[in-house]
């Protein structure tokens, strides 16, 4: 039992010693560790200091680390390993040592503890166990309550810790004082392998830091500099690339910063980004190094925006236009006033509010629904608007787009009177064809003809009228109104006129109908006096203009002769001469142009006169001839000569110029002659026209008086009707005065030319005076006004009777004029013919004498003298013929060439006589004689034609002969064809006699044609052109027939002859048609469309046709084929009959 206790005590004591041992060695380890750590720290600080001072290279720093580690290892094994080991695993000896040390330190214990252990462990084995036990108990009592580790004081370590802390504090203080340097030095020591640069002497602070902004808003990012102000500063942004992977950096240098703060402003922030500032110094050793601030984040919040805009335009209903959807996102509106605009938008985010804001701050709310909103407005004027939206976070859209609204007005309609389209005079029909063209953008409502009737010819008052007229749309924007405006109801009398215009309303129901008006035109019922005065003036002016042209032409010819003389004297052409020639050419062209214009004006005047039937057919025909003469003034030869001269002038070839000039002068002489002749004939036609006018004026007066008389006799007239009739009688009185004036003027005109006509006119004047026709008219007008209808009727009958007499007198005078003209002409022609005959006799004698003498004969001189006399005679005759030609269209064109040849031959004769060669002269004289004889024949023929002609010009005769000839040819063709067919069918053997008869007939027609060509004047050139070579064709037929040859070719040739003869007639008639048609183009009646085509109309003949064709293919003879055709035709016609 005692032993157990002792064992337990031992165990306890041993454990206590074990713990104490471990504490002891722990203390020792800690003490030595702290000491080592202090050494290391001090060495580290020392090295940092050295580094700070010397910026040691990497090797030394590595050396320091080598030494440090070496020292640490040595120190560890030398000083730390053993206590650590013993602390962790204390050995028994160490426990025993601890026991001894405890005894040493505790005097109360001394060796008790060690003794106890030794006794117990048997080191005194020979001791009695009891004693041993007692000893042990006793010993135990000595150290039982003692604490073994009292000698170990951990507090002693505090001093070492304090030293370490003090060293660390020192380091921190230094670091605080010199953060850059110390930190760098520290890092350089810590990382000996790295290369360290010196720290920058400044820091950048990001003052703004993280921030949120609205998209598109501006943002200001600020920073501050601590330390030295860097030379350069940057603002750096970094944002994620659209692909979401890479980042995009952007550096922007900040300039102009002063002081320690700086800022960077972004006007429109569009998306999130990170940012910081960077700075650098440009001095060594910091050059190229960058200091960077902290990173900040800018977070962008999206504004609402309009992703899609759709506008629909609904035009006003009256336009009939369909709604229009504008292109997506097109906010600009061009639309008609009154158009409803429907707006629909889609935003990028849900909306709380949306509206349209107009220029004048008017607001049109749109109804929001999620991301969408819609609304509408109408267009009334030009405007501008913005679409504003606000999202559910009350964020508005950024800078809304300004859209324009262009209000298009409904243009007023336009109306144009196409027909008549000018001021017109009414004809007898009192109907005016009217064609009005309407144009508008959206259709029409109504069309009127409005205006006023000015009764200048009757009551003198004015009355307004308005006439609604129908129209037909011809397209969406156009309409046409065509009708015949019957003016009968206006009861116009001559000199009354209507001023009218068309007025159209469009169908604009939004801002009221637009109104369009046409130009105002006048329709006048001209009085006879007006027409005659106008035509008189016009024709007199034309005559005067023609006279001027004649004079200018003479002047031009003289100038050209002068130039030609100058040129002949020189070898080269001067610039001035060339210019002068060009100028003369141009002058001549102008003259031709002037003549063309005169001709056109004459044509117009004649057309007007003809419309009013104021010209006799003869005078009208003469006017046509006159116009033709005007048209043919410039001959092709003249034109060619002009061209040649122009070419020569351009080439500057003096030789060619001289030649071309000669030709031009020659052609010009012909031109001059023609112009003069035209002028003379014009004068004559003018005189005839004056006579015509008198006749027609008298006739019209009579007719009008008759009409008034008829009205008076019909019924009892109302006062208004009486007034109208009185006015008409008044007008008639004026016309009578006009007739008297005309009589006087015509009488004077004829006084010199035809005294007898003048005398007749004098008689007519006397008749009017004696019969007091004017006074009777005045009296009748008063009677009508006074309501004395019966008396007025009687007076009217008296006036009518006298006017009939006057008309008869005028007609007789006119006939007398024509007869006298013919007589005068015939007389003149006879005289010239007689002179020609005498000259011919003289020339014959001269020829005989010339033949008889030889070259040495002294009579040659005498013969030459007489030949010269003959030349003078011929010249005189030519002059006379020119005079005659100026008064008639009858002289043959061949006469000109005969006379020209005659002069040439006389010249030849004279030259031969001068050369003393009488035989040759006799030969030329014979030619002269032949020429004279030809001329006489031509003159006789012309006289014969003139004597037979009903008028002096012979136009009708020409046409009649042509017709007669065509008829003869037609008959001949039939005979030839008949003979040919009989011959073909073998029914007849051709006899020589029959063929000879045919040949003779053809020959007769040929001669007639030649005669016609000879006797027709050159003014028939157009027709004769068509008959060109026809005589030759006839001659060929004659030859063939005489050769007893009758075949298909002969038949064809004869058909061709007939065809051309008919052509010639048609040509004339065609011209007549054209002349007559000119005033009649305007008739354009409105008609209904024929019925739509039915299928059977287009196809119905098919069956019949097929049947017929099948029949024809079955090889029937020609006659049967004809019968079959006729049969089927009849069937077709029968089927075509309406049921």
């Amino acid at each position: 039992m005692q032993n157990d206790r002792i064992d337990r005590i031992y165990q306890e004591t041993y454990h206590k010693l074990f713990v104490t041992t471990r504490k002891k060695y722990l203390f020792m380890f800690l003490q030595r560790f702290l000491t080592g750590a202090l050494y290391v720290l001090l060495a580290f600080l020392g090295f940092i200091f050295i580094e700070l001072l010397f910026d040691l290279p990497s090797a030394i720093r590595w050396g320091f680390w080598g030494l440090g580690i070496g020292f640490a290892l040595v120190y560890f094994f030398w000083r730390l390993f053993s206590p650590l080991k013993l602390c962790l695993f204390p050995e028994h000896e160490e426990i025993i040592r601890t026991a001894r040390e405890v005894g040493k330190h505790r005097p109360d214990i001394q060796d008790a503890l060690i003794d106890f252990l030794q006794i117990y462990e048997g080191r005194a084995s020979d001791t009695d166990p009891v004693i041993r036990l007692a000893s042990l108990q006793q010993l135990y009592r000595r150290f039982r309550d003692a604490a073994f580790s009292d000698g170990i004081r951990f507090g002693a370590l505090t001093r070492d810790v304090r030293k370490i802390l003090l060293s660390g504090l020192l380091f921190l203080v230094l670091l605080f004082l010199f953060p850059g340097s110390i930190q760098t030095a520290f890092l350089r020591v810590i990382f000996p392998g790295e290369s360290f640069e010196p720290a920058l002497p400044f820091r950048l602070i990001n003052l703004t830091g993280d921030i949120q902004v609205l998209k598109n808003d501006p943002v200001v990012l600020e920073g501050r500099i601590e330390g030295t102000v860097p030379d350069r500063l940057w603002f750096v942004t970094e944002m994620t690339a659209p692909n979401g992977e890479a980042t995009v950096q952007e550096r922007m240098e900040l300039s102009g910063h002063t002081g320690s703060t700086f800022r960077y402003e972004i006007p429109h922030v569009m998306e999130d980004f990170r940012y910081w500032f960077e700075g650098s110094l440009e001095v060594a050793p910091f050059k190229g190094r960058v200091a960077r601030s902290e990173v900040g984040i800018v977070e962008v919040r999206e504004r609402p925006f309009i992703r899609n805009l759709q506008i629909k335009l609904i035009p006003p209903a009256y336009t009939g236009q369909s709604p229009e959807l504008l292109e997506a996102n097109n906010g600009e509106i061009y639309a008609l006033i009154g158009t409803r605009v429907e707006v629909e938008i889609e935003a990028n985010k849900p909306l709380r509010e949306a509206y349209l804001l107009f220029q004048d701050s008017t607001r049109v709310d749109l109804t929001p629904l999620g991301n969408r909103a819609k609304g509408h407005f109408s267009i009334w004027r030009n405007d501008q608007y913005q679409i504003r939206v606000v999202d559910v976070d009350s964020i508005p859209n950024y800078q809304p787009v300004q859209h324009a609204v262009f209000a298009l007005p409904d243009e007023p309609p336009t109306v144009e009177i196409l027909q008549p389209g000018q001021d017109v005079d009414l004809g007898d029909e009192l109907v005016v064809p009217v064609r009005i063209k309407l144009q508008d953008d959206f259709g029409f409502q109504k069309l009127w003809i409005k205006g006023q009737v000015i009764r200048a010819g009757s009551t003198g008052d004015t009355s307004q009228f308005s006439l609604e007229v129908p129209f037909q749309p011809i397209s969406d924007q156009q309409a046409l109104s065509q009708f015949h405006w019957d003016l009968t109801n206006f009861y116009l009398v001559p000199d009354d006129y209507i001023e009218y215009f068309a007025e159209v309303w469009d169908n604009n129901t939004v801002s009221g109908p637009g109104v369009g008006k046409s130009r105002t035109f006048v329709i006048r019922l001209p009085s006879l006096i007006d027409i005659l005065e106008e035509s008189e003036t016009a024709l007199t002016d034309r005559l005067e203009e023609t006279r001027e042209v004649v004079e200018e032409q003479r002047e031009l010819k003289k100038k050209l002769e002068e130039i030609a003389r100058e040129i002949k004297r020189q070898k080269e052409l001067t610039w001035e001469q060339r210019k002068a020639l060009e100028e003369k050419l141009e002058q001549h062209r102008q003259l031709q142009k002037k003549l063309d214009e005169i001709q056109k004006k004459i044509e117009e005047t004649v057309r007007q006169l003809d419309e009013q039937q104021l010209l006799s057919p003869e005078t009208l025909e003469k006017f046509f001839e006159l116009q033709k003469m005007f048209q043919e003034l410039a001959t092709p030869e003249l034109q060619k000569a002009m061209e040649k001269l122009q070419e020569a002038l351009e080439k500057m070839d003096p030789r060619k110029i001289k030649k071309a000039l000669e030709n031009f002068q020659f052609s010009l002489e012909e031109f001059e002659r023609r112009v003069e002749r035209t002028y003379e004939l014009f004068k004559q036609v003018q005189m005839e026209r004056m006579m015509d006018e008198l006749v027609n004026l008298a006739e019209k007066l009579r007719e009008k008086q008759k009409e008034i008389n008829r009205k008076l006799s019909e019924k009892s007239l109302s006062p208004q009707e009486r007034q109208q009739l009185a006015n008409q009688e008044g007008s008639l009185r004026k016309e009578l005065d006009f007739l008297e004036q005309k009589l006087e003027k015509t009488k004077q005109t004829f006084q010199q030319e035809m005294a007898s006509v003048s005398r007749e006119l004098e008689k007519a004047q006397q008749f009017l005076r004696e019969q007091r026709v004017g006074a009777r008219m005045d009296s009748m007008r008063q009677q009508i006004q006074a309501g004395q209808q019966h008396q007025a009727g009687q007076t009217g009958q008296q006036i009518q009777s006298r006017l009939e007499t006057l008309q008869s007198m005028m007609q007789q005078t006119r006939e007398q004029m024509v007869t006298e003209q013919k007589e005068q002409l015939l007389q003149a022609m006879r005289k010239v013919t007689e002179e020609m005959l005498q000259t011919s006799f003289r020339q014959e004698k001269l020829m005989q004498q010339s033949r008889k003498i030889d070259m040495a004969s002294p009579r040659i001189t005498d013969i030459a003298r007489r030949q010269s006399q003959i030349r003078e005679n011929v010249r005189h005759m030519i002059e006379q013929l020119i005079q005659i030609g100026n008064k008639t269209f009858f002289l043959s064109p061949q006469l000109n060439s005969i006379l020209r040849n005659m002069m040439l031959n006389i010249g030849q004769s004279l030259r031969r006589l001068e050369e003393r060669n009488p035989r040759s002269a006799a030969h030329a004289q014979k030619e002269v004689m032949a020429n004279l004889n030809q001329a006489i024949l031509s003159m006789r023929s012309a006289m014969q034609q003139l004597a037979q002609a009903s008028s002096a010009s012979g136009f009708e005769e020409f046409l009649k002969q042509l017709q007669q000839m065509a008829g003869q040819q037609g008959q001949l063709n039939q005979q030839t064809m008949s003979l040919f067919q009989q011959m073909q069918s073998g029914r007849l053997q051709l006899s020589d006699e029959a063929l000879a008869r045919l040949a003779a007939q053809q020959e007769m027609i040929r001669r007639s044609l030649e005669r016609l060509m000879e006797t027709s004047g050159q003014h028939r050139g157009d027709v004769l052109g068509r008959l060109d070579n026809l005589a030759q064709e006839m001659e060929e037929v004659v030859k063939e027939l005489r050769r007893k040859k009758l075949d298909r070719k002969v038949i064809e040739r004869q058909e061709r002859i007939l065809s051309r003869l008919l052509d010639a007639q048609k040509s004339i008639r065609e011209k007549e048609y054209s002349r007559k048609r000119k005033a009649e183009w305007e008739k354009a009646p409105l008609v209904k469309s024929p019925p739509e085509l039915q299928k059977e109309q287009i196809y119905r003949e098919d069956l019949l046709r097929k049947e017929m064709l099948r029949s024809l293919e079955e090889g029937y003879s020609w006659e049967y084929q004809q019968l079959i055709r006729q049969y089927y035709e009849a069937l077709v016609r029968q089927k075509a009959q309406p049921r």
Partner: protein, 220 residues
């Protein structure tokens, strides 16, 4: 066929004609007929009409028409024939046969009455197509609308016999092979302005109608 589609077709065809006619300008053959009538009249009609067509359409036209007899071997080379005049017309048997062959084979005849040829022309055409009758075309017929719009049918150019103008068609197996403009004188209307003194608007109407006729002949 909607108007838009029709317009498209016409424009397309005109372009086609324009392209095709790049090598061969469109022209018309004037028939030289016998009988004494003036087949040669209206000398400036086609000069003006073709000029007008060149200006107004895509069609390339010749400077003027050509003239020949129906029996000419080249007659069939021309797709459109033209006949006009004031008087008698006479076709020989051969001409009758060839004209029939020409029209059945795709040719087109435009006859324009110059005033006076009506009885003769009808007589001779009866020889060519004894089985067919002239049918007056309604105003809705394409010839009045093919390019220019004539809502009231043929325009009136000259008075002639008075009254409204008439447009007749001669049909063979449903195709209009001949068009006969009567009592208006489209050809005269197309002539130089100083020849007949027609007002510009009338002339323009005639030129437009002439264009329609030619285009109809080419397109239908």
């Amino acid at each position: 066929m909607t108007p838009a589609f029709r317009l498209f077709i016409i424009v397309f065809m005109l372009c086609l004609i324009g392209q095709t006619s790049a090598q061969m300008p469109v022209t018309v053959v004037r028939i030289q007929y016998g009988g004494g009538g003036d087949w040669y009249g209206n000398r400036t009609t086609f000069v003006n009409l073709f000029r007008f067509m060149r200006e107004q359409t895509n069609v390339v036209t010749a400077e003027r028409e050509v003239s020949m007899k129906i029996t000419d071997e080249n007659f069939f080379k021309y797709p459109i024939a033209y006949i006009a005049g004031h008087g008698n017309i006479r076709f020989t048997d051969e001409e009758v046969q060839r004209l029939r062959q020409y029209l059945i084979g795709g040719g087109f005849l435009w006859a324009d009455d110059d005033y006076g040829m009506d009885p003769y022309f009808r007589r001779e055409m009866k020889k060519v197509f004894p089985e067919a009758e002239w049918v007056e075309l309604p105003f809705s017929h394409p010839i009045y609308h093919v390019y220019f719009n004539f809502p009231n049918g043929l325009p009136k150019v000259h008075k002639h016999a008075g009254g409204p103008p008439h447009g007749y068609g001669l049909f063979y197996e449903g195709r209009m092979v001949a068009f006969y403009s009567f009592n208006t004188d489209i050809s005269d209307g197309c002539e130089d302005p100083d020849i007949h003194g027609d007002p510009p608007e009338i002339r323009r109407q005639a030129l437009k109608m002439g264009t329609n006729i030619i285009l109809y002949a080419l397109l239908y």
